[in-house]
Amino acid sequence: MKPHSHPRPSPEPMPGPCPLRSILAAACLAGAAVSCGDRAAIHEADWDVEGPAPLATHLAYLDRTREEVVTVRAKETATRFAFEVVRQPVGRNPAFLLASADGTRALVVTRGTLGGPGLPEQEERLYRIDPAGREAPVEYSLRSPFDRISLSGDGRWAIAWFGHADAVNPNQMAVVRLDRTRESPTLRALRSYGGRPLSVHLLTDLPVGGVPRQIALTLSENYATMFDLENLHRRDTTIRLIDPRSGASARVIPEDAVVAKEHVSGSADEMPYVFLRAQGVADVYALAIFPNPAAADDQNDFRPVVNQVSVAGVPEDFVVFTRDGAAGERPEVRLLVVAGSGWRSSVVSIVDPRTANRWDVPLETSATRVLLFAFNDDRAGRARSVAFLWDATRGGVETRGSFLDLENVETRRTLNLEVLDLGSTVDAVIPTADPVKLLLVHGGISRVSVLNVAERTVDRIGTTVSVGLSAMHPDGKALFFAGTGGASSRISALDLEMRHAQDVRLDAPVRRLLALPGDPNLRTRDGRALLVDHGWASGYVTALPLDQPHRARASSIQGFLAQGALDIDTEHYEGTEVAP
């Protein structure tokens, strides 16, 4: 099986910045191609492009038809933007595209092909692609048609897995070291009791016995499974999840996991905790991860111990926070659980994972979500931690939010609670870079408010926002949004400090807004831009400065997805795949 060759691409020179009303040359080129007689099959194929996926400095598109990744970078010049487009081939039958954890690479999963007359066989692969094309794509042979990728936060690990039940073995997965270019992925069949993974979490640097451990956690119906990413020859550790109220035969569907890995116990017995919540189960499963020095060679040298902690109701959301320890002692970890307790009433349970002690704080409002804030309270002259709780139920009726001061909440309970009228129901909460400010997108009318957690104020903004047509400034200074309905050619930049919205008129309707932060590893501002995707099949992107978006400084590029359509190596796409 000969791998598909990938010549190292070079950036294709593009014409200088196009004025907004320039000719759609690239699209026209594509049109010319399809008008020719005796067309190759590739020219007859539907044009199937996924994207864009926002990277740190680029937009990435996956051209499934031409089996290429197209990246676009907007480089800010003294006056406008210059665009750099790179096309890089990937393997056969690209399936999906995503950004690496730090956004500096595009990841593409291909299905490969069984091959056939004139068509070489090719296995399924994962590609790690430098969007600038300076490095050759790194290929990882997956050997199974996975349709999900889970990434570790540090970017070192990826796990490819099946998100559907139709796979030959839905419990098969491939573990990929993304920080190693020459290491083949390791295929692994998860121990199964009839279920399949519902989600995969990569828990990095868990301090087990004082040693940072890299552990994969998969959640499936009735089970949570852990395995050691650095010792893949060791067996799974499978934990049965049971709802004590329903008995061992009831289905337990785990929904989410959070990790506490710092200041857990404050003692020599310190161990990390993994908390799980499940549909309809009024408990939290607290998994303390202990070292297991007596493990056999093929066993994990860590072992989870399950503590099933009762909370006030079925958890809707949960989050870990740290509270100050007693004098001279280390901080302690707490779990905050938002639980429903009946129609339009909710309770917050504060749980000490070390003792499983629980303190309930009944809310005056209904709440399904929580966000934590830590900030210096200038008025009080001290650091504070506050939880903001709101109801994110679609079609809900709750128009109020709750603030719970976490200082001594175990003893003060409702004394630490404050309720604020948010004006209307909340569809989305968007964090900003300001540690005390949140954007609230209200339901129904999609109006926007700025919530100041420290001041407990809500400033309503006189505009409407569609959640899918908005982007937050990487520094949290502004919210960019387009008019609702998808037909507007106007975008707005809402200065969150001044609460002033500046409109910018563009030349085409907006399909997506993407605010690229620039390469976090570089000190340059290259690639840092507000990019507007206009949704053209042939590609149409407008770039604006992030800090002062203005029509006069806008630049656009069109047709870049169609570029080179006439120069396609049609032989590459010929051949007939045998029926599977």
Binding site: T238, I239, P244, D269, V305, S310
Partner: protein, 568 residues
Amino acid sequence: MNGRAAGVVVVAGLVLAVALGAWTCGSGGADGDPWDDDRGADSGGWEASERDAAGDQGAVRDAGPDLPPEREENPDLRVPRASNRFVYMSNTVADNVVVIDSVTLAVELVGVGDAPAALEALGTLDAAAVINRGSDSVSLIRTMAIGESVVSEEMVAPDTNALSVSPTGLYGVTWYDVAAAGSAPLPPGLQDVSLLEFDSDAVRVRVVQTTVASRPVEIEWSDDGRTAFVVAKHHVCIVEFETLDESLPRCVGFGMVSTNPEDPWAPMVARRVDEVDVSGDGRLAVLRTDDSERIAVLDLSDDAIVEVVLPAVPSDLDLAGDGTFALAAMRGLGQIARIDLADPAAPEVYVADVRGLLAGQITISPDGTRALIFSSVSREEVPGALTEVLGVLDVADATISPVPLEKEVRAIGITPDGEYAVVIHRKNSGNPDDPALHPVDDIEERIDRSYGFSLVHIRTGRVSLQITPTDPGPFLLYQDAREGIHKAFVTLRDDAARIREVRVADLRTFTVRTTLLGSPPASIGVAPGSRKVFVGQDHATGRITFLDARDGSARTVTGFQINDWIVE
């Protein structure tokens, strides 16, 4: 010889025995001896009985046949068990033993034999032994740290279902307990026992299979833990573990009694014995038969039996820990008797009147200096009975100090130093919040209709009543002389009312605070090494709450049965 460890006494449920009785002759004592001074009952002093050990002069007095029997509540000995730092619990279904670290709450599942059932901790050795009923074996689990338990397994006599371990944790006995077996088929040998000898590190067990007298019912141990007394239907068998290889257990019969003492020609039958108390030094045993005024003192050194006839069938009998005397309550006579056992061959009996309270039960303090006298009978059963009083008997001079209570008594527990007691009260029928009752004028009735317990400082008679929303369940008294801690942990459970809590009482200040539990409490115990009191709870996947005996702080581990389903 009750279960005590490191200054901690566990009482889960209640105390003493029940019977109605008669009386024997005392031999009298020397002049000036406080035991046989001819003090009148009013003085509360002991009075020599009119009967001697062998005599039966005088008629047996009516002990009050209309009175209901005293109700004895036995300790709740269900799992889990603690051995210093670790708590052990057998899991019959999964063939393993759950080990919980009372400090970190870490859980370990230790595989043992087939169908582990009866489990006992080995003193404070951080080890436990468990009988595997499915494989006729005993497993010894020694835990150095969670995840590092070591298991050894040895075969025992077939169908063994009961286990007893010496207070030191060095020896054990397994046997077939008919009462525990229920309707299961009988094993071939009802007298088969297995003697267990654990090494000092508790990592190995040596098993000696042997036989004792038929139908063992319980095992008692000498205070030094070297001798086991296998109490059987008609015998007590003495197992000297330090000479195990040299001699078989020696069985001493309870003797024969006439079917009709009035008829010298009446046939003799084996003595029926309902309760056997062996002295802590293993010197003697006291045998009691329900409905009989005759008790027997069995000298275990020479197998001699001396019968003592009390003035009435004792409604209760308690043997002092050191075996030097026994006290009997004779409720119908309004008397108590002291049976001096310094010379088992010639027991001396002294009596004292008890006035102002119903002397139905008697409990000797662990140090033997005091005894509490009370009755579990209710005024609803015996109108006018003086049941809201606790009598504190000074064993030395037989003076009785009444301690008035606000409610009637159901059960009593005493701290090892005899300083404090917890009295669990009876509840009269009726609703304490009945609107027909006047909130103030009927306060006595409202209290009587309530559940509750009282904390008693025995020496001063100070009492503090705690009204509870439900009947107190298993409780535990904790004493740590080194740290100066005297505490009571009382569980409360009412599933319908969702009451599930522990009342933690500081016996020095009588302050009480409540710890809410996540599930109904079912058992209580203590891990002396970590000073953690643990409350086992009914929960589908297992739940235990550990309470720090010093500050009362709680930690809970739930779902340790789930840990059974962790596959590695």
